[in-house]
């Protein structure tokens, strides 16, 4: 019995992968994203962190060359190394903040969607309150309260994103909770937790995966904008947003400084969006437009 389930699941994954492979844009996204993740993980081997923070005033503001692919910044630091090591922070902030807000959103969204009633009303009114504050401002206020460092930046961005996740997950659960097979499971004596984990979650996992990729893209951008405002990662630690903030100081003498961190943001968010689009179509062909 277990074998057949295992077999079926593998078949389903294979089928999704087969459909995903057909989408050229999704594959492009997957390849670009993999390159980003790979180079972030092995950044230390590509070029040591030291080159990203070591100042060399004599070599300041040199345009891109074979020695310094992306040029050097106002303090003579190698911009390629800074963008590369910046990707470690930018990407992990995006992924971790998404995971954190997804977990909290899943907990509350699943609970209120499944139980409904007063609990649902109370939680959703609280979410209404949080959503009445623009997410960027909310994240800003929280970072200011907690202090600017990477962990707090992740917490702030994640909290500001929770209401959206709760809403999406609640809606997805409301869509399946009244279906007959859930009733059948209940009649069969399954407990609430078992129903939620075994019968409901597998049905909304597609929505969750798509949301996770798309949200990661958004949160990479949001963390960049907070760092750009000086409230995220602090100098001299490199992060894409803070690199752009430094580039702004040297806009006239060294305009090339803004090009590469910006391109890194665009390429990573674009690849996540493309992958998300492709996954949505592959997971649920009915939705394909």
């Amino acid at each position: 019995m277990n074998d057949t389930i295992q077999f079926k699941r593998q078949g389903k994954l294979k089928e999704i992968w087969r459909r995903l492979k057909k989408s050229k844009t999704a594959m492009f996204g997957l390849v670009v994203l993999s390159i980003f993740i790979f180079s972030a993980v092995f950044a230390e081997f590509i070029t040591p962190y030291n080159t990203a923070i070591k100042q060399n005033i004599r070599q300041r503001m040199q345009g891109p060359s074979t020695d310094h692919w992306f040029g050097t910044d106002g303090f003579g630091r190698d911009v390629f190394a800074r963008v590369l090591h910046g990707s470690r922070r930018s990407l992990s902030i995006g992924f971790l903040a998404t995971l954190a807000s997804l977990s909290v959103g899943l907990l509350f969204g699943a609970a209120v969607g499944y139980y409904g009633g007063k609990f649902d009303a109370i939680v959703m009114r609280f979410m209404d309150i949080l959503s009445a504050i623009p997410a960027t401002l909310m994240a800003l206020a929280i970072v200011a309260a907690l202090g600017s460092n990477m962990t707090n930046l992740i917490i702030a961005i994640a909290i500001a994103r929770i209401p959206a996740f709760v809403r999406i997950i609640r809606a997805a659960i409301l869509g399946v909770v009244d279906l007959e097979y859930i009733e059948a499971a209940k009649a069969g004596g399954a407990g609430d937790l078992r129903i939620i984990i075994k019968h409901i979650l597998p049905n909304i996992i597609g929505t969750l995966i798509v949301q996770t990729t798309m949200t990661t893209a958004q949160l990479i951008m949001r963390s960049a904008s907070l760092s750009f405002l000086g409230l995220g990662i602090q100098a001299p630690e490199p992060e894409w947003g803070s690199l752009l903030s430094e580039a702004r100081e040297f806009l006239r003498p060294a305009p090339y400084l803004m090009v590469f961190p910006g391109l890194a943001i665009v390429l990573s968010t674009l690849s996540l969006n493309l992958l998300g689009d492709g996954l949505r179509d592959a997971l649920d062909p009915r939705l394909k437009s």
Binding site: R125, A132, L137, L140, A141, I142, A144, A145, L270
Partner: protein, 310 residues
């Protein structure tokens, strides 16, 4: 129907109270006190204490919170800025027009570009008129507005000298901020219009309109678009609210004195009354916009109107 909207209007009150509570206590967590922030960390401690006392900051948190609420609710008094000692409301009043101008022009720009192209690419699905805008919009949606703003500032202000790079003196000042802020939104509206339009033009009533001999242009731009626009309106309304206060980064890049930049500078110096006042007013406008979107929905769609009257 009136009953429904009256109820929704009343719902704004508890939401605003909640916003006040949340923001007040987040600000309470920020380290330091306004006296130290204003006089500097190395300042004379007795002077700092005196300033905090003058500002009423030495009172217990709950007392400060409730007296703030009392003043706002019963006297419509948002207090005075800790830094300038001037009434918060005057500062906000000066900035609201700027923020509304920026948000409104951005939405207008995004819609004028996004909606027609979205319709066109849906009607000509799979042709070049569809694929080219779709690919471009994918790139646009991944662009951080402030990066686009920096690049445009470099080219159009510093290099070519065509447009002013900061401030709000004339309408030309708004071109760079609006375009850089608006392009990602235009991309979003394009995608929404396209997918909503694709669904609509396959509906029976569209076929009926064609069958009775209405010309194609009328069918698309009147019969179909009217219905396809509904989801686009929701997104646009939400975006307008977000832009009012959330355009912080663009405001700071182009030195635009709007609500967002007021809030960020005030957060940094722990000017509690200013942050509170600006956030509450923002949340109030935002809630009104969402209500307005719902009203608009009911006005365009009789089915929704019928649901509300129940």
């Amino acid at each position: 129907m009136y009953k429904y909207f009256f109820k929704r209007l009343l719902m704004i009150i508890p939401i605003l109270l909640g916003v006040a509570l949340v923001i007040f206590f987040i600000l309470q967590l920020t380290p330091g006190d306004p006296g130290t922030m204003i006089l500097g960390a190395g300042g004379d401690q007795t002077a700092i204490d005196r300033l905090n006392e003058e500002l009423g900051y030495n009172r217990p948190v709950l007392e400060r919170f409730f007296s703030y609420l009392y003043n706002v609710v019963f006297k419509l008094d948002f207090g005075s800025s800790y830094r300038t000692r001037l009434p918060v409301i005057d500062n906000i009043r000066g900035r609201i027009p700027v923020s509304i101008t920026l948000a409104f022009s951005t939405i207008l720009f995004a819609s004028v570009i996004g909606i027609p192209i979205g319709v066109l690419s849906a009607v000509k699905q799979y042709s070049l008129l569809d694929t080219v805008p779709t690919v471009i919009s994918l790139f646009m949606a991944a662009l951080p507005g402030f990066w686009l703003g920096m690049m445009m500032m470099y080219f159009f202000s510093l290099k070519l000298g065509w447009l002013p790079s900061n401030g709000v003196g004339s309408w030309q000042h708004f071109i760079l901020p609006v375009v850089s802020l608006g392009l990602p939104y235009a991309a979003q509206e394009l995608r929404f219009t396209r997918s909503s339009m694709l669904e609509t033009i396959r509906q029976d009533y569209v076929r009926t309109a064609r069958a009775k001999g209405a010309n194609e242009r009328l069918v698309i731009w009147k019969h179909a678009l009217k219905n396809a626009l509904l989801p686009v309106i929701t997104v646009t309304g939400g975006n307008f609210g977000v832009l009012l206060g959330g355009a912080v980064v663009t405001e700071s890049l182009f030195n635009i004195p709007g609500l967002g930049s007021l809030i960020i500078t005030s957060i940094k110096i722990k000017d509690v009354p200013t942050v509170m006042g600006a956030t509450l007013i923002l949340a109030f406008i935002f809630s009104l916009i969402l209500l307005g979107v719902d009203l608009l929905y009911a006005a365009v769609d009789p089915r929704i109107k019928a649901k509300y009257s129940k």
